[in-house]
């Protein structure tokens, strides 16, 4: 990563440390909206991390953005930062104008709404980050090619709901809706490319949450005493912590590899074969790890971890919802298996070897 990237991450880290404590996260869900945090995130320009400088953004690398996403997740940041970052990048890629508000990519990994004669029809069941007043960025299919349409929040039929962790999710229904802006076909952007990009964002979030869960658990078992010593002195607990650390390390290795690959990719939304395997790997490994990590962390915490006040639940609930989004471990592992089988059957691996593809 470049030096300026690190500066932005450091700034964000301080900002989250100052304004996104556990209490803020809990209140965001059941009480006060996090106004100070919202303002600070906006003022720091974080939602524009991926927008090129000439379009008024920060011009950060893809690696910066994914690292920022991982970091935000390690604070359970309860504002639609990730959603707006992705929506803004999609706007930039499609040559449309950015909004200076929150924005949301109205896409849940399912089928794209269809554009016909300038109007859009379709339903997106689980669109993340749709909040009142946000700009809605809708990737649409024009006979199989991707274009991007934007809508104002008030002009669409929106059923608001919440993820398991209280993050905003919405069912968005478009019935011959007329967009504010409609891009031409976006070069190098496909439906699967969008799915992969968003899957990697969720994988990065899960990895960020794993880090925090590891830290919370280590901290807790060092403090909490039973039978006259800290829980962390008991081998049964030590082994649980080691297993959490293992899943966390593996998740990081997987997402870092995928991020490196996507950073070097000329078309990060293309969803081609080069991008597929590293991204699918990252989503499988993180989503699979979520069960182990949450189970062991909760077990190590006892009843305290089950309380709303203690922050562990902010992270376990998030990883339970993130692991399902943009394809669970079941979805992506089936695709890896099928794609491997196809490559082997069609002679796309050197010497017909699975290893040739695994080691690429």
């Amino acid at each position: 990563m470049e030096q300026t990237d690190q500066l932005i991450l450091d700034t964000a880290y301080r900002l989250f440390s100052d304004h996104c404590g556990a209490e803020v996260v809990n209140q965001a869900e059941i009480g006060e909206p996090p106004k100070t945090l919202c303002d600070a995130v906006m003022a720091a320009g974080l939602p524009l991390a991926w927008v090129p400088e000439k379009a008024g953004g920060v011009g950060g690398s893809l690696a910066l953005g994914f690292n920022l996403i991982r970091q935000a997740a390690s604070f359970a940041v309860p504002v639609p930062l990730v959603d707006t970052m992705i929506a803004n990048l999609v706007l930039a890629e499609s040559g449309l104008e950015m909004a200076d508000t929150w924005a949301a990519l109205v896409f849940d990994g399912g089928q794209l709404p269809v554009v016909d004669n300038g109007t859009v029809t379709g339903v997106v069941n689980n669109a993340p980050g749709v909040v009142s007043g946000s700009l809605l960025v809708v990737p649409v299919s024009d006979r199989g090619l991707v274009r991007v349409a934007t809508f104002a929040f008030d002009n669409l039929a929106i059923e608001e709901c919440e993820s398991l962790a209280g993050e905003s999710r919405a069912r968005v229904t478009l019935e011959g809706a007329s967009p504010v802006q409609l891009s031409p076909v976006v070069d190098g952007m496909t439906e699967d490319g969008l799915r992969q990009f968003c899957a990697l964002a969720r994988a990065s979030q899960i990895a960020g949450a794993f880090e925090k869960i590891t830290a919370l658990t280590v901290g807790y078992v060092k403090e909490r005493q039973q039978f006259g010593r800290p829980l962390g002195k008991f081998q049964a607990i030590q082994h649980k912590v080691a297993d959490i650390a293992g899943e966390s390390a593996l998740a990081n290795a997987a997402i870092e590899q995928a991020i490196r690959m996507l950073s070097e990719h000329p078309e990060p939304f293309s969803g081609d074969n080069v991008a597929f395997l590293p991204v699918a790997t990252a989503k499988v490994v993180t989503s699979e790890g979520a069960a182990t990590v949450s189970r062991l962390a909760h077990q190590s915490h006892g009843a305290m971890g089950f309380s709303f006040e203690y922050p562990l639940q902010q992270y376990s609930r998030r990883i339970w919802s993130w692991r399902e989004e943009y394809g669970s471990e079941f979805y992506w592992s089936e695709r890896i298996g099928m794609s491997m089988a196809n490559d082997i059957c069609h002679g796309r691996a050197e010497g017909g070897q699975v290893w040739d593809i695994v080691s690429r």
Partner: protein, 386 residues
């Protein structure tokens, strides 16, 4: 502590690495075609073939990172990594030289006398000299500091007496690195007073007896040392520094590709066989295994990169081995759903042969080189719990 972040830097793969991989691959494919070896599972432990090791030495694929003056080629750790993983996935019989290439050679390079470096390293690199590890004993396994093998000072050298157990491949080795007690045992300072020796196995007083393992292979050994004399310069490193030396050796040993690829040959065959009829559930199982292998490989390469930067990623290395060895076992358990494992005989069915042999060998994966319980202890210590 605010967050605990594991970092795994990218390996720098240049053209020379790719070329080396291609060379090793095509050599191995040729050898398999010629019937030089039959691909086997857990080949870095179960496949002993000194002749094959010599061939690899002649090709310049052993000790590649060592200085040229000692028979090496001064290539990077990544070059070595690529050679080893290609050998593993081909199921090549590499055990004879594996330990010497992986750890005894580097140990001699770091701690050995000039004489040792000049006489032994070139022979290791040539695939003609093999070294066994003499750590475990009948009464010392995980608690290695309790070894009872003793070395006494005598005129001109040392006299060693004791028993080493489970030493892999010792029957085909010329040397063994023996961990022995040289100072009085002190319960408060258990790790002091231990010294490593490089003992020629043809010394008078040494007997090596093969032990058949549950898979039917005679690959590990019991070795007796009865007042075995070794000269002063058989001391590896410093007298009394043995513990420190073996712990840094173990970090090198733990994060390599042999910690997650031992059963890959079986998986490779299974996928090739199942590809044409692959469907939903089977694809999910296979895909999930492949994802985990890829992630572990990224992690293992990252540890190699950290080692290359001069860091000591003990925790990360222990994690690779803990996760990787469990995966090696898990692969076989999950493939059973589609290919039940029942008979000893495979009637020419390569996949059945690989699966049953993997199953019969897999209890050892999570034991050798430090058990997974010991590894988790290292992780816990690294996180400040011990």
């Amino acid at each position: 502590m605010d967050s605990i972040r594991f970092n795994f830097p990218a390996p720098v793969i240049d053209e020379s690495v790719d070329r080396l991989r291609k060379d090793v691959r095509s050599f191995l494919q040729e050898e398999i075609r010629n019937g030089t070896f039959r691909p086997g599972t857990d080949c870095w432990c179960a496949g002993i073939d000194p002749e094959f090791s010599r061939k690899l030495g002649q090709n310049g694929w052993i000790g590649v990172t060592w200085p040229k003056q000692y028979g090496g080629r001064e290539l990077s750790a990544l070059h070595r990594y690529v050679i080893t993983e290609e050998l593993l996935v081909a199921g090549a019989p590499v055990h004879a030289h594996w330990i010497a290439d992986r750890q005894s050679g580097p140990l001699i390079l770091a701690r050995g006398s000039e004489e040792m470096k000049q006489t032994i390293l070139p022979r290791i690199a040539a695939g003609e000299c093999f070294v066994a590890l003499g750590l475990s004993e009948p009464e010392s396994g995980s608690d290695l500091a309790s070894v009872r093998t003793r070395a006494h000072r005598v005129e001109g050298g040392w006299e060693i007496t004791g028993t080493k157990l489970w030493s892999s491949g010792a029957q085909s080795c010329q040397y063994m690195t023996v961990l022995a007690r040289t100072g009085e045992r002190n319960e408060k300072k258990r790790h002091e007073g231990l010294t490593q020796f490089l003992v020629p196995l043809d010394s008078p007083g040494v007997t090596v007896r093969g032990i058949r393992d549950m898979s039917g292979v005679e690959h590990f050994n019991e070795s007796h040392f009865e007042q075995v004399f070794v000269a002063d310069d058989a001391v590896l490193g410093a007298v009394g520094e043995g513990w420190k030396q073996i712990t840094s050796e173990l970090a090198l040993e733990r994060s390599g590709p042999e910690r997650f690829l031992s059963t890959f040959v079986a998986l490779e065959k299974a996928i090739q066989q199942g590809a044409a009829s692959m469907e939903g559930h089977q694809a999910r199982v296979i895909g999930s295994i492949l994802a985990r292998i890829r992630a572990l490989r990224a992690m293992s390469l990252g540890v190699a990169a950290l080692l290359g930067q001069g860091q000591s990623p003990d925790v990360e290395a222990a994690l690779v081995k803990d996760l990787g060895t469990r995966l090696e076992q898990d692969i076989i358990e999950r493939l059973r759903e589609f290919w039940p494992i029942q008979l000893k005989q495979s009637f020419g069915d390569e996949l059945q042969y690989l699966l049953s042999d993997s199953l019969l060998r897999q209890p050892s994966f999570t034991l050798r080189g430090g058990t997974n319980e010991v590894l988790k202890g290292i992780v816990a210590r690294g996180m400040g719990l011990r």
